[in-house]
């Protein structure tokens, strides 16, 4: 982690542990946070490699149209019947991975370890493929909010005075708008242009990622501004100013790297809320469209099915458990990071 040029030099001279390494050491002692980190890394890897794994197709329907109870892996591990055609249009990379999978496993696929949903689709495959959308949404929205929020907050905090006041008043005003309603409204309008956007290669999902990011930068801007304000009279900034660095250089080479720990903490707390929001919109029928699958859609399917099919507990249990575990791990990791990076807890 960069901590500004001057501090790096000071570190070199003194050969102490850098704040970043110090924080990492503290984080490693936090058993819950490390468990969460490992869990999330494994899950992300699973999501990334989904086409390579011998999972059934997440959209292959069973003609019985009836949920089947889970078959534990120790009873039946693999079975035959995988067909490559049963997918929505995938990207080139995923198609390649899928071809590789066929080389490796042939038409073998896992038995229904998590059971099947009300339409006979394999629940495990749907959860793994659905997690890809959630991770994508989190990543995209996180990046947009990072870019907009950090820039906005840093400029407001550095400029100070009237500019700062005006910029922060705008953030206050935006805070009081119930954005979710406007976003839903916007998504409906974008829906009308689905055909045109599709021809340009833009899916509704992409628009939606950008919109989420544009909404989620407000808190980030506030945090960064407060930190920059606190730091902008610090000695190393004065030194940079005296040695003739431009405002842009002071801001982005000296101040922003120093507020990064806080930014990372806030990002780990933003990501779960973005995932939640994606699931929320898909749940309402305004996010990802079938036959693609996301966690919100799975939750919607299961909550609709459970009212009719009272005994199919796995329909609710497995999706809830995976959504819950992921978001829980993200929250725990965020808390752990905050504790590890908080300079007041140094010791």
């Amino acid at each position: 982690m960069g901590f500004g040029i001057l501090m790096d030099r000071a570190d070199d001279a003194w050969r102490g542990t850098s704040p970043g390494r110090e924080a990492w050491r503290r984080l490693r002692r936090d058993r819950f946070a490390m468990a969460s980190l490992v869990f999330l890394a494994l899950f992300a890897l699973l999501a990334l490699c989904a086409p390579l794994l011998p999972l059934p197709s997440p959209m292959a329907l069973d003609l019985a149209l009836e949920p089947r109870a889970p078959t534990p892996p120790w009873e039946s591990f693999l079975e035959r019947g995988f067909q490559r055609e049963q997918f929505w249009s995938l990207g080139a990379l995923d198609r390649g991975l899928l071809a590789l999978r066929e080389r490796l496993f042939g038409d073998r696929q896992t038995a229904h370890w998590f059971g099947t949903d009300a339409k006979g689709r394999d629940l495990l495959a749907r959860i793994v493929w659905g997690s890809r959308i959630s991770f994508e949404a989190a990543l995209a929205a996180g990046l947009v909010s990072l870019f907009v929020g950090v820039t906005y907050g840093a400029i407001a905090g550095y400029a100070g005075g009237r500019i700062d006041n005006a910029m922060m008043r705008l953030v206050d005003a935006l805070y009081s708008i119930p954005f979710i309603f406007l976003v839903i409204f916007l998504v409906t309008v974008v829906n009308e242009y689905r055909g045109e956007l599709g021809r340009l290669g833009i899916e509704r999902l992409h628009v939606f990622f950008v919109v989420i990011g544009l909404v989620w930068w407000l808190t980030m801007a506030r945090i960064v501004r407060a930190q920059v304000r606190a730091l902008k009279e610090a000695d190393f900034v004065q030194a940079a100013r005296v040695s003739g660095a431009s405002h842009a250089r002071i801001l982005f080479a000296h101040l922003v790297p120093n507020v990064f720990p806080m930014v990372i903490v806030y990002l780990t707390l933003t990501i779960p809320s973005v995932m939640l929001f994606e699931a929320f919109l898909s749940f309402l029928g305004l996010g990802v469209e079938p036959p693609q699958v996301s966690w919100g859609l799975i939750a919607l399917d299961s909550s609709e099915a459970i009212g009719v099919l009272h005994t199919s507990w796995w329909l609710v249990f497995f999706p809830s458990a995976s959504i819950g575990a992921t978001l829980f791990a993200l929250n725990v990791l965020g808390d752990g990071l905050r504790d590890a990076l908080d300079p007041r807890r140094r010791g």
Binding site: R169, D172, A173, S176, I177, P178, I180, F181, L182, I184, F185, L186, V187, T188, V189, E192, Y193, P272, L276, A279, F280, F283, L284, G285, L286, A299, L300, S302, S303, I306, G307, H310, W313, V316, F317, P319, S320, I323, G324, L327, F328, L330, N331, V332, D335
Partner: protein, 328 residues
Amino acid sequence: MRRFLLRRLAWFALTLWAVVTVSFVLMRSVRGGPFSAERSLPMEVEASLRARYHLDWPLWKQYLAYLGPLELGPRAPTFLGGDGSDPFGGVLAGDLGPSYKYRDFTVNDVLAQSLPISLALGSVSLFFAVGLGVASGIVSALRRGGFLDFALRLLATLGIALPNFVVASLAILLFAITFPVFPVAGWGSLRHLVLPGLALGAPFAAYVSRLTRTGLVEVLSQDYVRTAVAKGLPPWLVLWRHALPAGCLPVLTYLGPATAGILTGSLVIERIFAIPGTGSHFVNSALNRDYTLCMGVTILYTVLVYALNTLVDLVSTWLDPRLSLEEA
């Protein structure tokens, strides 16, 4: 105080204007207008519908008519060329226009019918959130470091992490199907309110619990609490009279965002439990492209959230003399 309210009002007007304008632009940027989807409509019918909803007017006139407060149609004031029978209209006059889908109703009618339902659900879940949250926060703070504290904090993190529709599904599975204590869905009696209220309030209860715990832990180590204990007050009185009011201030400030979150969350919860509130109307209107209803709900919720935030700011400065309204 007056200056604070005036400034809030000015920002409120600006915010509302921005929301109205943005949603108006969004609505009108839809190709072909709201009736284009109904392909079965004959040309004449569509033309008469367009005339009825004034879609044949130039855009600036539609915008002014929507914004209000003066009516621009045939019932406009006489100096605008109307007969003066109903001179006011538009958002500023509290008139959100006709609904595109429920053709015999205005948006105001739909909201008047559904808002009380949503407010009832919202108050129940707010009650759950504050009641359960503060209670578990107190227990946690008093048993700090103990097993109960650990369990409650774990539960709180879980509550924050789980989406409300997951909580709702689990609650239905547990309390409506496995142990049929409450109805699966529907609306009508108090028992219908329990599960949705609980599912909607759960994440906020978890957050309130955290805030209460942190606040209380800090307050309990203060000198004045030690003095109160030292002069022999019974522990519950110390807690009730001295520690809680100060320890719960963060909870109070959180009530503004919590209410906004509960309003939003009710979109999903109302859908799961088939409750005919404003939230389900909003989602249906978005899916049916009933733009005026969509805009109406957005505007209504903007007003609600703004008013609540202002109220919370006022109350918390009244309770905590260290805060000043000038900075709020």
